[in-house]
């Protein structure tokens, strides 16, 4: 793959404009992978505060990608009978029941002066975001008077002391994707959209990628051991369509678009929620400085990541490779030196 050769060539030196290739910030993932005509990096912003738990994303994903049904088990984990991402589950909606009020903000905060008819008149008039089939309006292009392209906070009255979190998980399409780095066949590659895709006709089932993923996303099918995961609907992106899950999402909880723009939108949204009193609202995976260099698919959560079954501080498993090689080299050098010394001594 071009990815491998380009990446290996680039690994020898770090170009400050392109960022680090194994960890840390990387503003141009596709470019770093060797694409000279890279498209804007595309990804998902999954806003769990408006997820209604319908699982349409799971079904749309399975339908489009022809993923097999993988077990009829009543788990007892609330309404989550899918359990987690795997070779046969590329979107997974988690359901978390908590004895906890959601935030304590006033319902409908800040809407008193909204002219709903003016807002309704503009419905559907705002242009879609740039990029193939982006689903949500650009920030600033929302109907006059309506909140920033966003849905108001999931607002409790603080009375029932019960909340039900729902969140649609997916492959994170990491800036520094360890699965890709460890793949010996080139089955896993970086696309021109900056996403990470596994090719079923090349994968040899070695399984190196499985422990490499810091999120536990990629997985092998038991039949022939080949690895599978979300492709961010690479086949749809190529023809200007948005991914199946985003298309099916009725509340725009799953938003698809250029990652830069999604990050902006996410920042606005989390600020709004916090201002409305949802102090638990936080972004997960959007930070380019985090352990994987930021995710191409990131989330707005309403609780600690662990609550949703997400690792709190994921680190790309290849981050320490240079250090490991340095240590190994040092060790080899010391061994060699010791050997030399021993010969020198024996000679005496």
């Amino acid at each position: 793959m071009t990815d491998d050769t380009a990446a290996q060539a680039a690994r020898t030196s770090v170009d400050p404009a392109r960022g680090n290739l194994l960890f840390g910030s990387q503003p141009d993932v596709a470019g770093a992978a060797g694409y000279t005509d890279a498209r804007p990096r595309m990804g998902f912003f999954t806003d769990t505060s408006v997820c209604i738990g319908c699982k349409a994303c799971e079904v749309a994903c399975k339908e489009w990608n022809a993923i097999p049904e993988d077990g009829l088990e009543l788990t007892g984990m609330s309404y989550d009978n899918t359990q987690g991402l795997g070779a046969d589950t590329w979107r997974h909606v988690a359901f978390i029941e908590q004895r906890k009020p959601l935030g304590g903000q006033e319902p409908g905060i800040g809407h008193e002066d909204v002219d709903v008819f003016a807002a309704a008149a503009d419905l559907g008039t705002s242009p879609s975001s740039p990029g193939p089939g982006a689903t949500v309006p650009e920030p600033g292009s929302v109907p006059a008077g309506a909140p920033t392209g966003a849905i108001s906070p999931v607002a409790p009255d603080g009375r029932t002391e019960l909340r039900w979190l729902m969140s649609s998980d997916v492959c994170k399409h990491c800036t520094h994707a360890a699965c890709l780095d460890v793949c010996p066949t080139g089955s896993l590659f970086r696309t021109e959209f900056g996403t990470v895709v596994v090719q079923e006709d090349i994968c040899n089932g070695c399984g190196y990628c499985v422990p490499a993923c810091p999120y536990g996303v990629i997985d092998q099918r038991p039949d022939d051991g080949r690895a599978w995961k979300c492709t961010l609907c690479y086949d749809r992106l190529g023809t200007g369509m948005e991914p199946a899950c985003a298309k099916a999402c009725p509340t725009d909880s799953i938003q698809f678009g250029p990652v830069d723009e999604l990050r902006e939108r996410a920042a606005t949204r989390v600020e709004r929620l916090r201002a409305a009193g949802v102090t638990d609202a936080r972004l997960y995976g959007e930070d380019p400085q985090d352990g994987v260099g930021g995710d191409g698919a990131f989330f707005l959560l309403l609780d600690q990541p662990e609550v949703y079954g997400l690792p709190p501080d994921p680190v790309v498993t290849t981050r320490d490779l240079p250090a490991m090689w340095r240590h190994a080299a040092a060790a080899a050098a010391s061994l060699a030196a010791m050997a030399v010394v021993s010969f020198v001594r024996r000679a005496r």
């Binding site: 699982k55 049904e69 993988d70 029941e97 909204v114």
Partner: protein, 848 residues
């Protein structure tokens, strides 16, 4: 979520904390079956705190109308209205009328004996409660007495005040289990958001309809919405969230036994009526129902074309006639009696989806033939070889003589047609792929069945066959499968004039046979020969009402009765809520929506003395389908069970009725006694403690109704793979139920088993001063398919709403215990033992 984004506050009232509750601003858990007490409490709050929209109530409702002196309310008679005949379980509604009007006695020869046949119900009323659902009930001749100060002690407004005076927050707490402060919060949110500048909408689903007082649940919401001025205005209304795609369409074009297309009532067998007498008796004299003859004659022309002439009453005599109520449950009884010998099930799975599955199967086992058209081999197609009664030994396959035909059906993506949603919006869908194999559309099946029957009868000279032979049955077909052209059907429904040109509005319909129209309310859907339902103009290219997306009946008006969005002088109640208004310069109604009113009738128009039909409506009568042009806080006629909603307990309830001595709806429809359909003792009756928990059936997002469209699909089945019941941790502790273990649930009818889901989402409530646990049962499962389980509806009885004949699946009483249910004959024995312990016999729960 879109409304929330624009500032709407969402209140969710449901016994369970659902995915909807998770997104709502306020969740109000209440006891299933207590909603009239809850809504009545809000009505009382509105009335006693003067929160009602006075100008609206005075101008547009029957609040000022004075009632007759002999009317007695449930408050006067401890739970019944005047006119109850306990023997026939019916009301004579003559005392419910307005003072100053005389109800015209229905003419024609009534078969009184038939009327009083036990179980048959009244012929006249059985079918009319629902037939007049669209507002066709007459209010009689004369000018009703009015008191616009709303102070006359017998005016509707004062009667209403007295009727709901005891529905206090304390009563709501005791009956519904809703704490007073939470209840007050709901009252304040609703009233603060109603008035000139703001409107509140109610959305309900079958949680409101499936009760022995289901129609009165909706009526209670009507009363509240009218008091608050929330009908006919943007952002207001009462929205029925339908359980299936195009349920609205199936009542518009009438799959119901008692209606012809467009809510024209079906005629009765035991009345000798010609066309003229029928129209005289059934049509209201004022309002648009006054034109019923035009609608009916045009329908007859659509049915019988050339054969329908003035001389033969336009073939009025060809119409089938009712001999009483023929709802789905009476049909089951007729199957058991042996009078109903054949049964078509088209996309319906009564062995799972209807109440009391055993009664359904026993009925089907007594048929000569059964035709099932569905996607897969649903339970209603295979009960004869693997149904629950085969397992218990109650039925043996070799004894069943029913001949069962299974015909594969096409899905909506495999055929052209329309969906009509709850807003009366028709949207055309196009065939995306051909149906596989031998699967065919319902249209294909019905058309070719009719074609073949007509072929077989072609040589017949029997007058009985004339209605079939004279039918216009000439739809063009296309393709290899000879699929009839759905647009040709739509064009026939729309109607045409004498020259064959498509009609544009029901105002063009004539009663002289010069027009033809298959459903008067749909007239205009094919205006100019264009399929208006297929319009897809994006929202950005039109105003916010979006009149050019699809087509809404009537006449593409998006908000019904929208004349009420303007004040009596024709000005919007507020600029913020402007929808349609009178433009005095142009002399017409104008606005964002198409006015649901005669375009050039000025607000100050007063009809001349003796005017009838639409001409009798004044410029301030927005409710143009109502016989008096007003919205009804109080219903003088058209309902079988009372003019005002009153709280009654469900048929099977662990609680006594705190409001009245009358436990249950006195005129609820009970079917003739049958050993498989016993009712339970309730409240203080001995044996009620045997079934101490309230159960309610419910749905899951992942499955569709009785499962025929979802349990066979692996991608949906894996999301909710097994039947389960939801119980609180407290109930689990009380009964030793283990999370993900098994529970056995028992009623006087059946025993089923379910996996246990212990969750805080079904909270225990404090009702009548004691803790109540509720059990939620999703009803999607049955023994067939990819994902299987017992059917929740096995537990149900057949006690029906007397207006709509719907079953009470949303509130009943059960016992629950740990472990799996017994198999074979032991299952039958367990239910029998429960019945014996509760002292159940054929009289239990049958008092009026």
């Amino acid at each position: 979520m879109e409304a929330k984004a624009r500032g709407a506050k969402v209140i969710h009232v449901d016994p369970r904390f659902t995915r909807t509750s998770a997104q709502a601003d306020v969740h109000v858990p209440l006891r299933a079956g207590s909603d009239i007490a809850f809504l009545g409490g809000i009505i009382n709050h509105v009335l006693s705190n003067d929160k009602y929209f006075r100008d609206y109530v005075v101008a547009y409702t029957n609040g000022p109308v004075v009632l007759r002196e002999d009317f007695r309310d449930t408050e006067d008679l401890d739970g019944v209205f005047s006119g109850l005949d306990p023997d026939t379980r019916t009301y004579d509604n003559s005392s419910w009328q307005y003072a100053g009007t005389e109800m015209q006695a229905a003419s024609g020869q009534r078969d009184q004996e038939y009327d009083q046949r036990p179980g048959g119900g009244s012929v006249s009323e059985a079918a009319r409660g629902e037939a007049h659902g669209a507002g066709g009930a007459d209010v009689g001749e004369g000018r009703p007495e009015r008191d616009e100060t709303l102070t006359h002690p017998r005016c509707v407004f004062q009667v209403l005040k007295r009727h709901y005076a005891r529905y206090t927050p304390e009563m709501v707490e005791s009956v519904c289990g809703v704490p007073p402060d939470l209840f007050r919060q709901v009252c304040e949110l609703v009233t603060e958001n109603s008035g000139r500048d703001r409107t509140t909408a109610f959305a309900y689903a079958v949680g409101w309809t499936q009760h022995t007082v289901g129609v009165q649940y909706i009526r209670a919401a009507c009363v509240l919405q009218l008091l608050l001025g929330n009908i006919g205005r943007p952002g207001g209304g009462i929205l029925a969230l339908r359980g299936h795609a195009s349920i609205q369409g199936s009542t518009d074009i009438s799959t119901l036994f008692n209606l012809l297309p467009g809510y024209i009532p079906m005629r009765h067998a035991h009345q000798e009526q010609g066309l003229d007498a029928f129209v005289r008796d059934e049509a209201a004299h004022k309002g648009y129902w006054g034109n019923m003859r035009s609608y009916l004659v045009s329908l007859l022309k659509a049915y019988w074309g050339e054969a329908a002439t003035d001389e033969n009453d336009f073939c009025f005599d060809y119409l089938p006639r009712l001999t009483g109520s023929h709802s789905t449950y009476e049909t089951v009884m007729a199957q058991l009696e042996g009078t109903c010998k054949g049964y078509f099930l088209m996309g319906e799975n009564p062995a799972v989806g209807s109440a009391n599955g055993k009664m359904q199967r026993l009925g089907m086992a007594n048929l000569d033939w059964l035709v099932v058209r569905d996607f897969s081999l649903i339970e209603s197609a295979t009960w004869w070889k693997d149904g629950p009664e085969i397992e218990t030994g109650e039925l043996r396959t070799e004894d069943i003589r029913t001949e069962v035909f299974f015909l594969p059906a096409a899905a909506h993506t495999e055929k052209d047609g329309t969906f009509t949603n709850t807003q009366r919006l028709l949207q055309w869908h196009h065939r995306a792929v051909d149906p596989p194999g031998e699967a065919r559309s319902d249209l294909w099946f019905t058309y070719h069945l009719g074609r073949i029957i007509r072929q077989k009868l072609a040589a017949s000279t029997d007058p009985m066959d004339r209605p079939v032979l004279d039918l216009t049955w000439d739809y063009p077909t296309k393709g290899e499968q000879a699929e009839p052209d759905a647009e040709a059907v739509l064009a026939e429904i729309n109607g045409h004039d004498a020259e064959g040109d498509p009609l544009a509005s029901y105002e063009q319909l004539r009663g002289d046979g010069s027009t033809s129209c298959g459903c008067w309310i749909y007239c205009g859907v094919y205006a100019d020969g264009v399929n208006q339902a297929a319009r897809r103009k994006p929202g950005g290219q039109q105003n916010w009402v979006a009149n050019e997306w699809g087509w809404a009946w009537p006449a593409n008006r998006r908000i019904l009765y929208n004349r009420a969005s303007a004040d009596p002088d024709g000005r919007p109640w507020s600029e913020r809520k402007a929808l349609v208004w009178w433009d005095a310069d142009k002399g017409e109604w104008t606005g964002h929506d198409i006015a649901d009113f005669k375009k050039d009738k000025p607000p100050d128009h007063r009809p001349p003395e003796g005017a009838t039909g639409p001409a009798a409506l004044s410029g301030t009568d927005p409710f143009i389908m109502q016989a008096d042009g007003k919205a009804w806080l109080y219903v003088p006629s058209g309902l079988t069970d009372g003019p005002l909603p009153t709280h009654y307990e469900p048929q099977d309830s662990p609680f006594p009725n705190l409001l009245h001595a009358r436990q249950r709806n006195p005129v609820r429809q009970l079917l003739p006694p049958h050993p498989a359909n016993r009712y339970q003792p309730s409240g203080d009756e001995a044996g009620a403690e045997v079934f101490p928990y309230v159960a309610t059936t419910c749905r899951l997002t992942e499955h569709h109704t009785a499962g025929g469209m979802s349990r066979w699909l692996p991608y949906l089945a894996e999301l909710q793979p097994e039947f389960f019941c939801e119980v609180s941790p407290e109930l689990a502790a009380e009964r030793g139920l283990r999370h993900t273990g098994w529970a056995t649930i028992v009623s006087a009818r059946a025993v089923i088993e379910a996996r246990v889901m212990v969750t805080d989402r079904v909270p225990p409530l404090r009702v009548h001063g004691r803790v109540l646990h509720q059990v939620a049962l999703p009803y999607h499962w049955g023994p067939n398919g990819y994902s299987t389980g017992d059917a929740a509806n096995e537990l149900l009885h057949l006690s029906l709403d007397p207006n709509s004949h719907i079953q009470e699946t949303k509130a009943f009483a059960v016992d629950i215990r740990p472990g799996r249910r017994p198999r074979g004959p032991a299952a039958v024995e367990l239910v029998r033992a429960y019945r014996a312990r509760a002292g159940v016999d054929e009289r239990t729960g049958t008092e009026p």
